[in-house]
C-alpha cells in the first residue's frame, strides 16, 4: 500500500516548484519562493552508496529542517531585536507541526530571496509587520511538514495517512495500538516524498500553542550571556576598526595627521575610507586609542551652521505657509476664515536617535574569489545584500551574510543606504589595498565597531518636526482642523521613494494625521519637506511618533476649550470606528478614568491607530522638583488574533518606557553644525527609578491581525503632557519636556 503523497513519478513537481506555486497562491502571499541553493544542499544524501548512506535530514521548505537525530531547526525570516519574533514564528510553525516550541531551535535566516517579506518583497524586519505578514506562511510551512511526516509514517505502518495523527513530535496510529514513531526517525523517509498539493490548516478553536503565553526561545541564552550578537561575533585573526567620521553632516576631510595614531601599541593600520579615517587594531581599546590620537581637519560643507534654534524658527515660518496637500475634506480654510472661535498651537519634536543598547558593528571577511562573508546584525539584509554585491561587482551568490541577534534595532539597523554595512566593507577593502601592510593584515577579518558617541552623532535620526494645527470650534464640537507638518522626508533619495512619496507627500511624514478618522468635516493636512544634510530614517513608530503627539495634544486642547471631557470627546468623534473606540473604552475603564486621584496627580488619555494596530493609553503623572513623575501607565491594545500574549504585553510595556524617554529626556540637537549630545549623560533615557508600572490589557478581537511593536509608542507623549496639565502644570508643546516645567 502506498500512502497518499508518496510518489515515484520523476515528473512530479519538485519541492522548489511546489513552494513557488502553493505559497504564492495561499493566503494572498506575493513572494515567489525559490528554494535556496544553500538549503537545498542539505537534503542531498552525504554518500552515493545507499548501503552506506546516513539518514537524510528532512527539509520540506526554507523555514524548517528536521534532522534524523530528531533535532528541529526553524530558520527565522525576521530578525530578533527584542520583539520576540523568533518565538512568534516558531509558535506558528509548531502549532501546525504539532511539536512544542521548546523542542525547536530557532536560527536567523541567511540572506536569500526565500526569506523575502511577504508584503514588502525584500528581506526586511520592520513596520510592525512580521507577525501578521508571516503568520499564515509559517503555519503552512509547518503543516506541509506535518503532512509529509504523517505520510511517511503511514507508509511505514502500512496504513492510510488518515489512520495516523501527529502529536508532540511523533506520528502515531489512531487505532489505539500505541504504535508511534518520532519525527527524527521519519526524516529520511519524509525527505523522499513530494510535498502535498494543498494542506489543511488547523481551525483556530483547536489551537494549543497560538494564543497561549509562551516562553521566549531566546531568554536563557540572552540571560546567561551566551547569545551571539553582532558585536560578539569573532573570527580567527580578526582585527577591530573604528572610523573617525566628519563631525558635520556632509563634511569632508581636509587634512589628516595619523602619525600618533599609528604609534599606538596594537594599531596595525590607518586607512582612509569614504566616510572618514579608519584605525585598525588588535582589539577595541587599541583602535579607540588610535582613533583618539588622530589629528583631523574637516571642511564642514553643507552641514556648516546647522543649529536647532535656527531650524525651529525656519520650520515654524514654513508652517505658516500652505504646503503640499495630503488630505482635504470639506472647506477647512473657509470655515477657519469665517470662524470667530479659532485655536492654534505649534507642536515640536526633535531629531531622535534610536540608540540601541548594542552599538553598531559589522565584520567583513573578504574572499579570494572576489566575494565576501559579512557577519552583522541587520534588519534589512534585502537591501544590504545587493548593495554589497554591487560595490564588489560580484554576483549576489558570492556574498554571504550571517545575521545575529540584534541588540536593539528600532529602525536603525534597517538602513536604506546600508550605511554601516558598506562602511565596514570599505574598511576591509581599504585594508586589503593598503600600502606597506603585511599579507596577514590585508587578509584579516575586520570588524568595524561604533562607540556610543558614534551612534548618537552618526545620523539616520527620526526627523525633527514642527506641526502647526489650527481649529475652528463650534458648539461642543470641532468644525474645522488644519494640520501643517514640517519635516524632512525619510523616503526621498532612497530606493523606496517611488512607493512612499505620492504627489510630493511622503506618506510616512503625514501618517497618523492625514488618515485621522475623527469625523471632522472640514479637515486639511499639509506637508513641507525641507531638505537638510542630516541623514534621517524610520524610528520606532516613524511618522506616528510625531503626528500622534500633535493630534492627540490638540484634541485635548479642544476638549479644554469646549469644556468637554477628553475621553468623552474622543468617544464621540470615533463613534463610527469600533476598534478605536473599544481600546479607548477599555483603557478608560481599567484606568478608572474620572475617578479620584491623589493631590497633584493628573491623568491624560490618548488613542491612536498605527501599523494596523490600535492602542489607547492613560498616563498618571505629577510634577516633582520641576520634573515629570510618571506614576502609572495603563494601556489597551487590539492587534487582532494574538500569537503570544506574554510578548504583546512585553512589547507594550517596553514601548511605553521607550516613548517616555523621548517625551521626557532624549533628543538630538545641533549647535555650530555639530550634534550636541554625545552619550547617555546628555541623551537621557528613562531609568529604573523613573519607570512607572505599566498595565497592559489585550482586547479580545476577531478583527484582522495587526502590528504590535511600534503601536504602543505614539499615544504616550501627549497622554503624559495632558496628565501634567491636569496635575497643574503648563501645556508642553515641545518635546522633550526636559526643563520646561521649571
Amino acid at each position: 500500500m502506498t500512502a497518499p503523497g508518496l510518489r515515484n513519478d520523476s515528473r512530479a513537481p519538485s519541492r522548489r516548484d511546489f513552494f513557488r506555486s502553493t505559497l504564492t497562491a495561499g493566503g494572498g502571499l506575493v513572494l515567489g519562493l525559490s528554494f535556496g541553493e544553500r538549503l537545498r544542499a542539505a537534503v542531498v544524501r552525504p554518500t552515493a552508496d545507499p548501503a552506506d548512506a546516513l539518514p537524510a535530514d528532512f527539509q520540506p521548505n526554507a523555514f524548517l529542517k528536521i534532522g534524523s537525530d530528531g533535532s528541529i531547526v526553524v530558520f527565522a525570516k525576521h530578525d530578533e531585536m527584542g520583539q520576540g519574533i523568533h518565538t512568534g514564528l516558531a509558535i506558528a510553525i509548531c502549532e501546525e507541526l504539532e511539536v512544542d516550541v521548546a523542542a525547536v531551535q530557532v536560527v536567523p535566516a541567511p540572506a536569500d530571496t526565500d526569506y523575502g517579506h511577504s508584503a514588502y518583497g525584500i528581506q526586511v524586519t520592520g513596520g510592525s509587520t512580521s507577525t501578521w505578514s508571516s503568520f499564515e506562511q509559517m503555519r503552512r510551512a509547518g503543516a506541509v511538514a506535518r503532512e509529509m511526516l504523517v505520510a511517511a509514517a503511514a507508509a511505514r505502518f502500512g496504513v492510510e495517512a488518515g489512520e495516523c495523527e501527529a502529536v508532540d513530535g511523533t506520528v502515531r496510529r489512531r487505532d489505539g495500538s500505541g504504535e508511534a514513531v518520532g519525527y527524527g526517525d521519519l526524516a529520511d523517509a519524509a525527505s523522499d516524498l513530494t510535498p502535498p498539493e494543498d494542506v489543511d490548516l488547523k481551525q483556530p478553536a483547536t489551537f494549543t500553542r497560538i494564543g497561549k503565553p509562551t516562553p521566549r526561545v531566546d531568554s536563557p541564552a540572552k540571560v546567561r550571556g551566551s547569545a551571539l550578537f553582532s558585536m560578539d561575533q569573532r573570527a580567527e585573526g580578526m582585527l577591530t576598526a573604528m572610523v573617525a567620521r566628519s563631525p558635520y553632516f556632509g563634511g569632508t576631510l581636509r587634512s589628516s595627521d595619523t602619525a600618533a595614531a599609528r604609534a599606538v601599541e596594537g594599531v596595525v593600520a590607518v586607512v582612509e575610507v569614504p566616510s572618514g579615517v579608519a584605525v585598525v587594531a588588535h582589539g577595541f581599546w587599541a583602535a579607540k586609542k588610535g582613533r583618539d590620537a588622530l589629528r583631523l581637519q574637516w571642511d564642514a560643507g553643507e552641514g556648516r551652521g546647522l543649529d536647532t534654534a535656527k531650524l525651529r524658527s525656519e520650520y515654524s515660518a514654513l508652517a505658516e505657509r500652505p504646503g503640499n496637500v495630503a488630505r482635504d475634506d470639506g472647506d477647512a480654510e473657509g470655515v477657519l476664515a469665517a470662524s470667530s472661535r479659532r485655536h492654534a498651537a505649534v507642536y515640536e519634536v526633535p531629531f531622535q536617535a534610536h540608540a540601541p543598547m548594542e552599538p553598531l558593528s559589522c565584520m567583513v571577511e573578504l574572499r579570494d574569489d572576489g566575494g565576501v562573508k559579512i557577519t552583522t546584525g541587520s534588519q534589512m539584509l534585502g537591501s544590504d545584500h545587493p548593495k554589497v554585491a554591487e560595490r564588489l561587482g560580484v554576483d549576489a551568490s558570492k556574498v554571504e551574510f550571517v545575521n545575529s541577534f540584534l541588540g536593539g534595532g528600532f529602525g536603525r539597523r534597517a538602513n536604506p543606504a546600508a550605511d554601516f554595512t558598506l562602511e565596514a566593507l570599505e574598511v576591509a577593502l581599504a585594508l586589503r589595498d593598503g600600502a606597506g601592510l603585511s599579507t596577514e593584515v590585508r587578509s584579516a577579518p575586520v570588524k568595524t565597531i561604533w562607540s556610543r558617541e558614534d551612534d548618537l552623532r552618526g545620523g539616520w535620526y527620526r526627523p525633527m518636526f514642527v506641526n502647526a494645527i489650527e481649529v475652528a470650534l463650534g458648539d461642543g464640537r470641532i468644525d474645522a482642523w488644519r494640520h501643517r507638518i514640517v519635516g524632512q522626508s525619510i523616503a526621498v533619495g532612497t530606493p523606496f521613494e517611488g512607493a512612499m512619496v505620492v504627489d510630493g507627500v511622503d506618506g510616512t511624514s503625514v501618517e497618523g494625521a492625514a488618515d485621522m478618522p475623527h469625523g471632522i468635516e472640514n479637515l486639511r493636512v499639509e506637508l513641507h519637506s525641507p531638505k537638510l544634510p542630516v541623514p534621517v530614517q524610520w524610528w520606532r513608530s516613524v511618522g506616528h511618533s510625531n503626528t500622534a503627539f500633535a493630534k492627540e495634544s490638540m484634541l485635548d486642547e479642544c476638549a479644554e476649550k469646549l469644556g468637554r471631557d477628553a475621553y468623552e470627546l474622543r468617544r464621540e468623534l470615533l463613534a463610527e470606528h469600533p476598534r478605536w473606540r473599544r481600546v479607548l473604552d477599555v483603557v478608560a475603564d481599567k484606568a478608572g478614568w474620572g475617578g479620584p486621584l491623589p493631590d497633584g496627580v493628573g491623568r491624560g488619555i490618548a488613542v491612536h491607530e498605527s501599523f494596523r494596530g490600535f492602542a489607547a493609553h492613560v498616563v498618571e503623572a505629577s510634577i516633582v522638583d520641576s520634573r515629570p513623575k510618571v506614576h502609572r501607565v495603563v494601556c489597551a491594545i487590539d492587534c487582532g488574533l494574538v500569537v503570544n500574549p506574554d510578548q504583546v504585553e512585553s512589547q507594550m510595556q517596553g514601548a511605553a518606557v521607550f516613548a517616555l524617554s523621548s517625551a521626557i529626556g532624549s533628543g538630538i540637537h545641533f549647535a555650530d553644525g555639530k550634534v550636541v549630545e554625545s552619550n547617555f549623560h546628555d541623551f537621557q533615557l528613562v531609568r529604573m527609578h523613573e519607570s512607572p508600572a505599566v498595565e497592559v490589557h489585550i482586547v479580545d478581537s476577531d478583527d484582522a491581525m495587526g502590528g504590535i511593536g511600534e503601536v504602543g509608542v505614539p499615544g504616550v507623549a501627549s497622554a503624559l503632557c495632558s496628565a501634567l496639565v491636569a496635575a497643574g502644570g503648563p501645556r508642553i508643546r515641545r518635546l522633550p519636556i526636559g526643563d520646561q516645567l521649571g
Binding site: Q83, V223, R224, S226, G266, A286, P356, R452
Partner: protein, 158 residues
C-alpha cells in the same frame, strides 16, 4: 604588562596595556562576550561585573586594578545561589527583549541581593538605576529582582 586575577573562580593571567578596560580584556583577549559594551563611560551598566563581590562597570575599570582581584562575570554568575536565583527569575518572567543589557542587569541584581535579601522598591531603584534598558524592560526587571529574592528565601535556586 602581565596581570593575574581570578576569573569566575579560575586563576587567569593576561598580557595587556595597564589602561585597557577590564571589559575589553574580557571580550577581546579572553573571548568572554557575555559582558556587553554600551557606552564606554560607566553610564549604562551593560558591562557590569563583580570585582571582589561589588558591582563594577568593566568599561571604566583599567585592567591593572584587577590585579589579584576576584572577578565574576555573567558566565560565572550561576556558581552562587544568588546568581542562580537571578538567572532563574529572569528566565521565568521572560524579562529580556533584545537582551544586550540583561547580563549587566543580572550582575547588578545579584550584587543587590547579596547585600539585601529582600530589597524594596526604593532599594531596587537605587541599585538598578545605573543599568539602562532601551527596550524598556524595567517593570519586568523589578518583578524579577523580587522573584529572585523569593526563590532565595525558599531555599535557593535549583
Amino acid at each position: 604588562m602581565q596581570i593575574r586575577f581570578t576569573l569566575n573562580g579560575r586563576p587567569t593571567s593576561v598580557d595587556a596595556t595597564p589602561d585597557t578596560p577590564l571589559l575589553w580584556v574580557l571580550r577581546d583577549t579572553l573571548g568572554q562576550t557575555g559582558t556587553k559594551f554600551g557606552c564606554g563611560r560607566a553610564l549604562c551598566g551593560a558591562c557590569t561585573v563583580h570585582v571582589d563581590g561589588a558591582a563594577v562597570r568593566a568599561c571604566s575599570f583599567p585592567i591593572e586594578y584587577a590585579k589579584d582581584k576576584d572577578i565574576r562575570t555573567i558566565e560565572g554568575l550561576e556558581a552562587s545561589a544568588t546568581g542562580q536565583a537571578v538567572v532563574d527569575a529572569w528566565i521565568e518572567l521572560d524579562v529580556v527583549q533584545c537582551g544586550w543589557c540583561q547580563p549587566g542587569q543580572c550582575m547588578s541584581a545579584a550584587a543587590l541581593l547579596s547585600a539585601d535579601a529582600r530589597p524594596d522598591d526604593a532599594a531596587i531603584d537605587r541599585s538598578m538605576s545605573g543599568n539602562l534598558c532601551r527596550c524598556g524592560t524595567y517593570p519586568r526587571i523589578r518583578a524579577a529582582v523580587k522573584r529572585a529574592a523569593e526563590i532565595l528565601a525558599e531555599g535557593g535556586g535549583r
